[in-house]
């Protein structure tokens, strides 16, 4: 008889916590983690340190391979989910393989978000959601002295700090879109602006980006950035940090309810039996609000992964809405109204 098969799409914090919880509660089940990235589960928040050479790739790793071997968790890295058939309970992989599941958890996370109005400049932008892109930046960085950062999410603040620490000139263009999916973020912007100036960054605020173009195709290249007020500056790298959007393109036409993320109830369950979602890609219903909230941050994802897994193995877990002001960095207190109402 075939073992009960839990398939988890994703290899981030929610996915790994879920796998661990399932194994703990269902010893003889088959557990498969599918990730489009080639790397073992890593600390995303340490990527800025990795980029600037302060730590190595192995320091990013959360668990070694042996961790998965010991727990008999099958890791399918570098494999892309092409589509899912939730009626037949099959995950279709891009390399034309069918993976049958009994219960599915989607923790596919997010990918770097570039606001539509900036699409014309996206070839000039460097993003850093994944380790593969971080690797490329790390390789390019030694020849780069001046960096412009457009946006303003937490990762970009950490990156600015480490870049300034390594003697590089950083100009930060704080952009309203940086706080997507938050609509109004003046409080956060002010807080960030002050913190960035203290770090030693040049900050351009209340002056949105108008145009970016490459003016020199060299090593390093040179970009010209223009704001709407007509300010221009040059930089050898332009980082774009507008947060992320759920990586759920493979779910188009799957029948799942999707708004900005996969809509799930407070037990992380979708409208389909045996299909759950957790982490950055999920939009979770809060009964007390009669509305949905999205997850941000490591600890939050950890809790959601655990709750989803408990429900999947037949126990009960509830998504607990985190308190406001749950995220702080360098004294920047990030109010989190979007955790309440989108």
């Amino acid at each position: 008889m075939k073992p009960f098969h839990y398939v988890i799409i994703g290899n981030g914090v929610a996915a790994n916590k879920a796998a661990e919880t399932i194994r703990h509660n269902h010893a003889d089940a088959k557990i498969t983690l599918i990730s489009r990235e080639f790397f073992l589960f890593y600390y995303r928040h340490k990527l800025p340190l990795y980029i600037t050479g302060k730590i190595d790739e192995t320091d990013l790793q959360v668990y070694p391979v042996e961790y998965y071997r010991e727990r008999n968790i099958r890791l399918r890295l570098g494999q892309i989910v092409q589509k899912v058939d939730l009626h037949k309970k099959v995950v279709y992989l891009k390399h034309m393989e069918k993976v049958h599941y009994d219960r599915l958890l989607i923790c596919s996370g997010g990918r770097s978000y570039i606001p539509e109005i900036y699409y014309p400049f996206r070839s000039c932008f460097t993003t850093m959601k994944r380790l593969s892109t971080a690797r490329t930046i790390r390789e390019k960085l030694p020849s780069v002295q001046s960096i412009a950062i457009v946006g303003g999410d937490l990762t970009s603040v950490k990156l600015a700090e480490t870049l300034i620490d390594t003697g590089r000139e950083v100009t930060f263009i704080l952009d309203d879109y940086a706080f997507w999916p938050l609509e109004s973020a003046s409080e956060i912007r002010d807080s960030l602006e002050n913190a960035l100036r203290k770090m030693g960054a040049n900050v351009i605020s209340n002056d949105p980006l108008n145009m970016v173009k490459q003016i020199k195709d060299d090593d390093p290249p040179l970009y010209e950035i223009q704001t709407q007020s007509g300010k221009t500056l040059q930089a050898q790298m332009v980082g774009a940090f507008f947060g992320f959007k759920p990586d759920i393109d493979f779910l188009i036409r799957s029948g799942l309810d999707i708004d900005r993320g996969i809509l799930v109830d407070d037990q992380l369950k979708t409208a389909f039996d045996d299909v759950y979602a957790a982490g950055d890609c999920a939009q979770i219903y809060a009964p007390e609000l009669k509305n949905y909230w999205v997850s941000v941050g490591w600890k939050n994802a950890l809790r959601l992964g655990e709750a989803a897994a408990l429900n999947m193995v037949g126990l009960t877990g509830h998504a607990r809405k985190p308190a406001a002001h749950a995220t702080q960095y360098k004294g920047i207190k990030l109010s989190t109204p979007w955790w309440h109402i989108l």
Partner: protein, 588 residues
């Protein structure tokens, strides 16, 4: 990006998928670039369309001793077969697979599903690209070669040159479309991978030396041709058949004859008959065939007739494992036959030695009027190496020469005269004044049957004594390692020598008190140098591919010292890693 001294590449498919021919082109291309190669394919015993075929090659900037067991790159032309090869790849290996097969494959049937952390998956639409290039999927193997060229920074032009050589007899269209398929695989990797290169080989200079890519069978056949072979008689048997196939093409133009006989008994009968007339004749067979030949070989021993037999060993007993390697026919070669039946047994260690020892075998057979058995095996017969042609050209004939009789008037000719060195001057039918009798019965010096004890003792002694000269004249076994007393002395023979030498040179064992001793002449065994080596060693270990430790038994008899046996029958060449592990364990 990792740099490496050598790369092991496996291309795995069903028989007929072109895995073997792809590796052939890869070998040629790498040899053209100046790399050394060692290639050992494995394929099913059955006919085309069944079973797994694995083209396996190792590429290096330095000369190679083994083809390596664990691959840096596995190309899957057939997912199910490739899955079974995953246990023979390195933890950081690259896996090339068809990313767009015609339909979805069930879980656990797609090789891509087995990519472990640390490995690199290279999905390439092999079928699609092949269809674009040649209008069918049959050049998937060539597309995969293009991918390999890109993944290892190998010059695609060398691959195209190799394709042109491989398809030289085909039309220009065939060469062009296969070159196009290669370029498609190459460009796909370059354009679709952020980091196309998996590993790079340390660079070598392209050279102009004439290089032949030959396997042990071909090298032995070429050696026989260059030795002046006039008759080859044989009955097809894996893994020796290729010798006959090669000679069937090459010997008749040189006025020689190839006869495919009805069985092995007839084949050795032809060869002994030709030897009786003074012609250079040879047969090649494998274990089951050698069993059948033992009676006729005994006749050649008794009648002191020169003949050469190549025995390419495979897994046994009986029909055994026709397409798997083993070294379990040593006892049969040494002792097969009734009575005291001394003969010469040689075991080359690599492809150039197959050439050299086959040539030398004819000299020995004639000089000492004896059967000479050359022990190859499936691995050595089928493994390809790049051989510098100048090495073959520098062979110096005449190390041993036939002593031909001259008629002495008034005295009857004694064909089997008992001499001090045991060698009697030879004569052949039709030579004036040298009439003599030949028989399988014990005989007098003139060749007439005689059953007296004194005569039998004298003749038996003479037949053994004649090899003392060979023992003395043959180069002493290779001895490697530190001078002085050794913790371990490792002995091995034939095709296993390479693995032992590589193990001894490995970082784990290098610098330790371990030495090696590698005889090629297994009968008569060179007792003195072996004793000298054994006396220097606290422990002896014999590495060979048989279960009972056949050489180990011989070494114990000779050196009067107990030998530990790393004797295994894995149906594949010995693994360096296994030898290193074993010796490390012995040292503890």
């Amino acid at each position: 990006m990792k740099q490496t001294d050598s790369l092991v590449i496996k291309i795995c498919g069903s028989a007929g998928d072109g895995a073997i021919s792809a590796v052939e082109i890869l070998n040629r291309a790498c040899a053209l670039m100046g790399f050394h190669i060692m290639n050992f394919d494995s394929y099913p015993a059955e006919i085309r369309g069944f079973g797994k075929s694995v083209g396996h090659t190792r590429i290096s900037r330095t000369p190679l001793l083994t083809p390596g067991r664990y691959a840096d790159c596995l190309v899957a032309l057939n997912d199910m077969h490739a899955i079974t090869e995953l246990k023979r790849i390195k933890p950081d290996a690259a896996l090339v697979y068809d990313s767009r097969p015609p339909d979805y494959i069930e879980e656990d049937c797609a090789v891509a599903g087995f990519i472990e952390p640390g490995m690199s998956g290279y999905g390439v639409p092999l079928r699609e690209l092949s269809a674009q290039a040649v209008k069918s999927a049959r050049s998937r193997n060539i597309v995969a070669l293009g991918a390999i060229a890109a993944m290892y920074n190998l010059d695609p032009e060398a691959f195209i040159e190799a394709i042109n050589i491989r398809f030289a007899r085909k039309s220009a269209v065939v060469r062009e479309i296969n070159s196009a398929a290669l370029k498609m695989g190459y460009e796909y990797i370059r354009n679709h991978r952020e980091r196309p290169v998996h590993k790079t080989l340390l660079a070598v200079k392209r050279h102009d030396r004439p290089i032949r890519i030959v396997n042990g069978n071909e090298a032995a056949a070429i050696g026989a041709l260059d030795a002046g072979l006039t008759l080859y008689a044989g009955y097809p048997i894996t893994p020796a058949t290729k010798i006959m196939e090669y000679l069937a093409k090459k010997l008749p133009p040189k006025n020689g004859t190839v006869v495919q006989t009805e069985d092995e008994i007839a084949a050795i009968g032809h060869v002994v008959g030709a030897g009786y007339t003074g012609k250079r004749a040879m047969t090649a067979t494998s274990g089951p065939g050698l069993c059948l030949m033992t009676e006729m070989l005994n006749l050649a021993v008794q009648a002191e007739i020169a003949c050469v037999v190549i025995n390419s060993m495979r897994g046994g007993p009986s029909t055994g494992l026709p397409t798997k390697t083993e070294q379990a026919d040593l006892n049969l070669a040494l002792y097969g036959g009734s009575g005291d039946s001394p003969r010469v047994v040689l075991a080359p260690a690599n492809v150039p030695e197959c050439y050299i020892m086959t040539r030398r075998a004819f000299e020995i057979a004639e000089a000492f009027q004896t059967p000479v058995i050359l022990l190859l095996d499936f691995f050595l017969s089928n493994r390809f190496e790049d051989v510098d042609e100048t090495v073959l050209e520098t062979f110096e004939p005449g190390m041993f020469k036939r002593l031909t009789a001259e008629p002495v008037s008034g005295k009857p000719f004694e064909r089997f005269r008992v001499t001090d060195n045991g060698v009697s001057p030879a004569a052949f039918p039709g030579m004036p004044g040298l009439k003599h009798a030949i028989t399988g019965l014990e005989h007098t010096p003139r060749g007439f049957p005689n059953y007296e004890g004194d005569n039998h003792r004298a003749m038996t002694e003479k037949r053994r004594r004649k090899f003392i000269e060979l023992q003395n004249a043959w180069p002493h076994p290779d001895v490697t390692g530190p001078k002085g007393q050794l913790s371990i002395g490792v002995l091995s023979w034939g095709s296993s020598i390479g693995a032992v030498r590589e193990a001894l040179a490995s970082p784990e064992l290098k610098g330790l008190s371990i030495g090696g001793c590698f005889p090629r002449l297994l009968q008569p065994l060179q007792t003195e140098p072996l004793k000298l080596f054994a006396n220097r060693c606290d422990r002896l270990v014999v590495v060979e591919l048989n279960s009972s430790g056949q050489l180990a038994g011989l070494i114990e008899q000779t050196t009067h010292k107990k030998a530990m046996r790393l004797a295994d029958v894995p149906a594949e060449p010995p693994a360096v890693e296994q030898i290193v592990r074993y010796l490390t364990g012995v040292l503890k």
